[in-house]
């Protein structure tokens, strides 16, 4: 029983990583209506920027803020410059450009900072939480920050004018234009916010998994899984999905005999697929209705 409790707690700790990533994924989905496969690499690159800033002598707090601003600008740049020429192209072409972006960012990061792992500091310190051996202060801090972000996004989308405009622009661009929403800039804003959230995710994740160009690739997978499980239209769902994936994966690995350890990720993914078969828009997503 004690092992069960430990694994659940560890799963929540790892799940915080996935939840963070899932939030960024949902953010971009809300803004542009499809998944950004390069999200992980953008987050990784932002984290490297923070790392470089700290190498140059900036204190953690300043580096953190600067990175968020740079990432935001980067996200806007990617939308306005890289995606503009193919605005009207079919979705699959967009997906391929995401993939190209992924390749570029990964390769550039490896070239500039090389592929060995680097340690990244945590603002929460790395000592155990209240002396407990189960969850470290950093991991607890990560959970808190994720929840705070979630709260911020909730209020932003629900209660601010810009948030409402963004939702309108994503859901129905034509009608939104008619009421005066500048759809193009709403999209760009969405990209910027997603990039910024990704940067926060990366900065929080790096202390745990260590910074290197390939660090986000598997985490993005889990982030997607969590986001889809929770429902791509619901930030809260994404966070819950992320935690769930973490816990399920740990439990599967520990308690399923023989193959459990070898099949952690596939089992978690298969479970999600099973959930989707019964509830196609995720646990907390909005049901989608097609008008004939």
């Amino acid at each position: 029983m004690e092992l069960l409790g430990q694994q659940v707690l560890a799963g929540i700790a790892t799940g915080a990583i996935y939840a963070c990533m899932a939030l960024a994924v949902v953010m971009i989905y809300q803004a542009i209506d499809h998944l950004n496969f390069a999200q992980g690499e953008m987050a990784m690159f932002s984290t490297f920027i923070a790392y470089q800033l700290m190498l140059w002598g900036f204190p953690y707090g300043i580096a953190f803020l600067l990175t968020i601003v740079i990432s935001f600008a980067g996200g806007v740049f990617i939308d306005r410059v890289i995606f503009k020429p193919i605005h009207d192209a079919p979705i699959l072409s967009h997906v391929v450009v995401f993939i190209a972006l992924l390749a570029i960012l990964n390769s550039a990061a490896g070239f500039i900072w090389d592929f060995t792992v680097k340690s990244f500091p945590s603002p929460f310190g790395s000592s155990p939480l209240f002396g407990s051996s189960l969850i470290s202060a950093h991991q607890a801090g990560m959970v808190c920050v994720t929840l705070l972000l979630l709260l911020f996004l909730f209020f932003f989308f629900r209660y601010t004018r810009i948030g409402l405009s963004m939702r309108a622009a994503a859901a129905n661009p034509a009608s939104a234009r008619l009421v005066g929403v500048r759809v193009g800039w709403m999209n760009a804003l969405g990209w910027g916010m997603a990039a910024a959230i990704g940067a926060i995710a990366g900065i929080l994740i790096a202390p745990v998994v260590f910074l290197e160009p390939n660090m986000m690739i598997s985490i993005l997978l889990y982030g997607f899984a969590g986001a889809v499980l929770g429902g791509l239209t619901s930030p809260a769902g994404a966070v819950i999905g992320g935690f769930t994936v973490g816990v399920v994966e740990n439990l599967a690995g520990t308690f399923i005999p023989v193959v459990g350890g070898e099949l952690k990720l596939p089992i978690a993914l298969m479970l999600i697929v099973a959930v989707l078969v019964f509830k196609p828009s995720g646990l907390m997503g909005r049901t989608v209705v097609q008008r004939v």
Partner: protein, 339 residues
């Protein structure tokens, strides 16, 4: 509180035009280009050394796999990131049959095809409920799971586990003056041509029209009496069959299968090849195959340290120039002729 929103239909999601008039009316042009292609293809082993022939054979294998993906995504509108799984299944079927049961390599192709058709059909059944992004994730899960399933210890006796399986390269028939590479090239070319012709006939038939109807407007299709479940699952099965045969061929020419050969990277490569060739345009598969095989080499030639970045830049430029792939380019050229 469950709110409702409008969702993009699968057809919009894949968003390609139906076979444009200019391409159909360009029947004579199609015939001529087909003959030119055939002549070029047949003469390749005569002018290039074995290693290049080997590369072109690989290109054809990828083209067949992309053709399979095109049938599913381009013609039927179902998105798949999981085709590396079917490729792997076909490859391992061929490898196990050749290694453990000494089956002649030719028979492994239909065997791989049948196994993958069944697997694809079975996967397609639950996937019926999933659309767009969610289907993408399910197939994504399949692609991720494949290498790990191949490494499972209980299955090691069959799959060779992480070590993989080494295959003996087949010899050409003794009455032909060809070496192994040349023979495999012609063999693969023949298979590719047969599969292409079958695919083209499928697309032009009633079944093909039904598949495209499902892609463009599923609700209208259903109201016209098309059995969505059956056709969508069949599409998955057929697509898997093609990719599985490609996998078997791939295993034979590389002479080796191992879990690390069949990762998500392969699925992504197929997707990129599909888009570069043109979604919904069958001949585009050859462009896709060429891109997937040769462009990474070119990128490495430009800069070893930044090969990924160069590859990405080339890809983006290509999409800018041809947002709908080679199909769009050909269409533009043809309409210029007609204009």
């Amino acid at each position: 509180m469950a709110e409702t929103t409008l969702a993009p239909t699968a057809g919009e999601a894949v968003a390609t035009a139906e076979m444009p008039r200019s391409l159909r009316r360009g029947g004579r042009i199609a015939l001529i280009s087909g003959i030119v292609f055939l002549v070029v293809a047949i003469s390749i082993p005569l002018f290039f050394r074995n290693f290049v022939v080997f590369q072109f054979t690989q290109m054809l294998v990828y083209a067949i796999a992309i053709l399979g993906l095109n049938l599913l995504t381009g013609i039927n509108g179902q998105f798949s990131l999981g085709h590396s799984a079917f490729y792997a299944l076909g490859a391992y079927t061929a490898a196990i049959l050749m290694d453990q049961y000494s089956v002649n390599y030719i028979w492994t192709l239909p065997a791989a095809g049948v196994v993958c058709f069944i697997a694809g059909f079975l996967f397609g059944l639950p996937a019926l409920r999933l659309e767009g992004i969610y289907l993408a994730l399910a197939t994504f899960a399949l692609a991720i799971a494949t290498p790990q399933i191949l490494k499972l210890s209980p299955l090691e006796h069959w799959t060779g586990g992480v070590q993989g399986i080494v295959i003996v390269k087949p010899d050409p028939p003794s009455w032909l003056p060809l070496n192994q590479d040349q023979w495999l090239y012609y063999f693969t070319l023949a298979v590719a041509l047969i599969l292409y012709i079958l695919a083209r006939n499928l697309v032009k038939s009633r079944t093909g029209r039904a598949l495209m109807a499902i892609r463009d407007n599923p609700i209208a299709a259903r109201s016209m009496g098309i059995n969505l479940s059956l056709y969508k699952s069949l599409a998955f099965g057929t697509s898997a069959l093609y990719t599985g045969i490609a996998g078997a061929l791939g295993a034979i020419i590389v002479q080796f299968v191992a879990p690390d050969s069949f990762t998500l990277v392969l699925s992504i490569a197929f997707l990129v090849g599909l888009v570069v060739g043109g979604v919904g345009w069958l001949p585009g598969a050859i462009f896709g195959g060429a891109f997937v095989l040769f462009v990474p080499n070119i990128a490495e030639g430009v800069s070893k340290g930044l090969s990924g970045a160069v590859y990405g830049v080339i890809l983006i430029l290509l999409i800018y120039l041809m947002p709908t792939g080679a199909a769009g380019f050909v269409r533009a050229v043809l309409s210029r002729f007609k204009a």
